[in-house]
């Protein structure tokens, strides 16, 4: 009962190990339970029933960085928070990805002042920038899907990681 009843009698399926591993990496990508400001509300909205992020295997937010693959920096990063984010990022196990959600996390947004880091990319390397103030859940989901496409191109050992950031 499952895939074989839908797809007929497939017997043996051959594929590359890389594809299978990347399939697992994309479809069980667990984000860190981490919200900084109003963008976190939209992130919660994306995980709620209406937008249903669990379609992409991402309904579980891990409260521990050691169990998380993805950190969604949702909100402005204050200078006092910056070392904390770096520490959380360092504690995550490889392979790991970063989404800068919203204008503040991407470039400081409207907060061009002494208290806010002008883009979280000063602290940790960013894979996907999602624009918006705050971005709607659709935009965040689009960013996540773009990230999934990027992960699917990854090599098995994670060495050939694509470093060019995506702007959504």
């Amino acid at each position: 009962m499952g895939l074989e009843t839908k797809a007929g009698d497939m017997g043996v399926v051959t594929t590359s190990l890389e594809t299978v591993v990347n399939w697992g990496r994309t479809n069980a990508m667990w984000p860190l339970l981490f919200g900084l400001a109003c963008c976190a509300i939209e992130m919660m909205g994306a995980q709620g029933a209406n937008y249903d992020l669990s379609r992409f295997g991402m309904e579980i937010n891990r409260a521990s960085p050691r169990q998380a693959d993805l950190i969604i920096v949702a909100g402005r990063v204050s200078r006092k928070m910056a070392p904390v984010i770096r520490r959380l990022y360092d504690q995550m196990s490889e392979p790991k990805w970063v989404i800068a959600m919203g204008d503040c996390a991407s470039c400081g947004g409207v907060f061009n002042n002494y208290a806010i880091v002008q883009g979280v990319d000063e602290v940790i390397p960013v894979d996907v920038y999602v624009a918006g103030c705050p971005p709607r859940p659709e935009a965040l989901i689009d960013g996540i899907v773009q990230l999934h496409k990027k992960v699917e191109r990854m090599k098995l050992d994670g060495t050939l990681r694509d470093r060019t950031p995506i702007h959504v």
Binding site: C107, N113, I116, Q118
Partner: protein, 173 residues
């Protein structure tokens, strides 16, 4: 409780050192206090059974750059008994930013004085733990002072974003 009564009681106790320097639109009186008298005055206002200003609602600093004295510490007091508010103001010159602490009068002054120290560099003499409360410990300067620059980073447009991103400190892996 009338504003005039408060002022009269204060002037009776502290002579001519104290005077009303203004009133809010809501009718709250503002009283200027010499710096060295602030602990005595607030203790008197708290302990006097008729006045009974038992609650320090707010303590903050203001920077009037270009004025003498440059800084002002503002205290808002509330009397539960009389349902009455007054404002006290203490001028602080830029070259000597010391004010006696009120932590001995109201415990709640502790954090608020730390914030005023963090943001404006006002030193509250006698404070039990005068450290930064909001900014990181290794921060230089006091960011709410008016002579601190407002913007932090040059705003990137199409014409100059190459130069800005060339010198921006991007994080390494």
């Amino acid at each position: 409780m009338e504003n005039a009564t408060v002022l009269a009681r204060l002037q009776e106790r502290f002579a001519d050192n104290i005077g009303a320097i203004g009133a809010m639109r809501s009718g709250e009186i503002t009283i200027g206090i010499p710096r060295e008298l602030i602990v005595e005055v607030t203790t008197f206002l708290r302990d006097d059974s008729e006045l009974a200003y038992n609650f320090l609602e707010n303590l903050c600093a203001v920077d009037y750059l270009g004025r003498t004295p440059r800084f002002e510490i503002v205290y808002h007091l509330l009397s539960f008994k009389n349902r009455h508010r007054i404002t006290l103001k203490v001028g602080v010159p830029a070259e000597d930013t010391h004010v006696p602490t009120l932590t001995g009068v109201w415990q709640t002054a502790n954090y608020q004085e730390r914030e005023a120290f963090d943001m404006f560099g006002i030193i509250f003499d006698g404070h039990p733990n005068l450290e930064r409360i909001l900014m990181p410990d290794d921060w230089n300067g006091h960011p709410q002072r008016k002579d601190v620059p407002l913007g932090y980073e040059e705003v990137a447009f199409n014409i100059n974003d190459d130069q800005i991103y060339a010198r921006k400190p991007f994080a390494k892996e």
